[in-house]
């Protein structure tokens, strides 16, 4: 824990993004380590798999699906994209003719302008498609190659395609744990000092996990990254 040096706090304090850490579930740490030379640390807010969780997920997915389809249908009907034979299709027709759907159509009908409805529908589509439930952040350590961080954000804008960053080993000046003010508290977090870069790379930037996790990851990284598995190496000389 002595790896806190002189100048970094300033950098980090600017670096830390003050996005709201999703508090609904404390982040877990999962470790995949197929060989001693390779390890992947995953910190995620996804709770450990359980039956209830599965059920909840399934129901949520179905709900999304339904919403998606309904929005799609409404869009098509309002913009009258569906060709006639499709609407007359024996499977689809009863649904389109059903009173609740008609009510929906009327609800989203003329009083609000078509473009507004279209925009709303597109938004709904996007949300249904791209909504992320959990934040997942990974740290992949490859001995001899380097470190790769990846972040999958939660929420709509947290793009579900992980944003990755690979840092080759000889670029890594040091991996260390630092403290900084964040909001009303002082947090521990893991940083990678990159050779010849202004900003240090914060690992797990979104959900800054607690000190326990951070320390575990830090030891693991030290052990895995360098050839002579250096448990004691990082300590302040």
């Amino acid at each position: 824990m002595a790896v806190i040096g002189w100048a970094k706090s300033g950098l980090i304090a600017n670096n830390l993004d003050h996005r709201r850490q999703n508090a609904h579930h404390p982040p877990h740490l999962y470790i995949r380590r197929p060989s001693p030379t390779t390890a992947e640390y995953t910190v995620t807010t996804r709770p450990p798999p359980s039956l209830t969780l599965r059920l909840a997920l399934v129901s949520l997915t179905t709900l999304r699906l339904v919403l998606f389809l309904v929005a799609l249908l409404l869009l098509t009907t309002h913009l009258s994209l569906l060709p006639r034979p499709v609407t007359q299709h024996p499977y689809l027709h009863p649904l389109l003719a059903s009173p609740p759907y008609q009510a929906l159509v009327r609800l989203t009908g003329p009083p609000l302008p078509a473009w507004a409805f279209a925009a709303a529908a597109c938004a709904v589509l996007y949300v249904c498609f791209a909504w992320q439930l959990h934040t997942t952040e990974r740290l992949l350590v490859l001995r001899g190659l380097g470190i790769q961080t990846s972040t999958t954000g939660e929420g709509v804008w947290g793009s579900w395609r992980p944003a990755t960053r690979f840092i080759p080993t000889e670029k890594i000046r040091d991996v260390l744990i630092n403290e900084a003010f964040r909001g009303f508290e002082v947090r521990y977090y893991l940083v990678v000092l990159v050779e010849g870069e202004e900003e240090v790379v914060v690992v797990f930037p979104r959900l800054l996990p607690r000190r326990r996790i951070v320390e575990a990851v830090w030891r693991g990284v030290r052990g895995c990254l360098y050839e002579q598995g250096g448990e004691g190496r990082g300590e302040k000389g």
Binding site: M1, A2, I4, G5, W6, S9, G10, I12, A13, N178, E179, A180, F181, F184, E185, V186, R187, Y188, R210, R211, R212, G232, E235, K236
Partner: protein, 486 residues
Amino acid sequence: MAPTYNIAMVSDFFFPQPGGVESHIYQLSSKLMDRGHKVIIITHAYDGRTGVRYLTNGLKVYHVPFLVIYRSTTFPTVFSFFPMFRNIVLRERIDIVHGHASLSNLCHEAILHARTMGLRTVFTDHSLFGFADAASILTNKLLKFSLSDVDHVICVSHTCKENTVLRASLDPLMVSVIPNAVVAENFKPYRNPGEIPKETFGQDPCPARPLGPHDTITIVVISRLFYNKGTDLLTAAIPRILENHPNTRFIIAGSGPKAIDLEQMIEQNVLQDRVEMLGPIRHEEVRDVMVRGHIYLHPSLTEAFGTVIVEAASCGLYVVCTQVGGIPEVLPSHMTVFAKPEEDDLVVATGKAIAALRANKVRTELFHEQVKSMYSWTNVAIRTERVYNGISGAISEAEFYGYDASDPATWSATRGRSGVQSFALIDRLKRYYGCGIWAGKLFCMCVIVDYLIFLVLELWFPRDKIDICPDWPRKTVDERREPGVR
């Protein structure tokens, strides 16, 4: 073995900003750490110093991001510091909060919050305040507010103690007098000729001792050139001194708004060759400047302790100083010549000093050892430690206050009684209530609000959500260092 504490020094003034309070805090903390305590420092963020730093001796400094208004004192918001302060205190497991400098709002807020959180608090006062003008009246109210519920107060001189007792209407028994000190090693007189003097300061670096009748006597002045440092006196006195005593010269170091007056004086009666103005110098250069002189002139108008004259004496200079504030207590009479804060008297006193030096009546070469024996930071740390022991009940009140707490009932609610000074809200409110007719009620309201905030914080940021940070390896008192970290 003696108990060790986790101490948080809170003050607005700390490095990188230079100054007396800053070095006091630093020296005291490092000496306390040598005695096996854990010390952290909480101050506000300076330009380029944000976040958490470790100094090289393992002293941990929290530079809390705060709004700075005037001369690096933070904006007096009574409560806004509380969440951060609580977080720091909890994660560092602090049990004694030690605030410095009565002009620092951070310190006052910290003391208030610390009492709310049920910690022991100590306050060190470094400065004197009059009762005259409205500014100091406001300051005194603030001081009274934060000192109404402090466990112990430390003053740097007896005058300072009297002043604080009157300002905050404290019980004199809960005010200790622990002077500042100097690091005598950094202020050795210029003795060994082998030492290469810095050529950056003028022509003759080595003052010849013993003085012949016609040697040039150099008078050194090192102070910030503000009004209350007596720069006006200096400006008025220098030409007269110089005209009375032919071969003397001045070296003036320091900067400030009054520097222009000095320069004008120098230009008006042409003294460029006899008065040398060095401008601002760093604290580590002070010694190099001092050893070039024979007399240190200190024309201050108010001074709680006056560390600089001790430094000067330690450098083997004969000190001429005004008789104000705590200065008369600082140095024995054979090292100093006192003057009233008047131009004529200053001139006369300087004349006396010069005469004494010329007659070689003053054994300035002995000063260093004497000063070293008088003032040392270790001693300060030991005495401060006694205060900690006293307030945390490690030593009995009878020993600490010199009386036996006959019945705690009567004392539980009165001002600072260690051990039995209860944290109960009602008792604290009683203490605050007496601060004045209106102020008392206002203060009580503040305290209640503070307590409510505390409760809210307990709910919002529960304690188990706060990471406890590991300690720097403590030194045992017998100086045996543990190897490594954890």
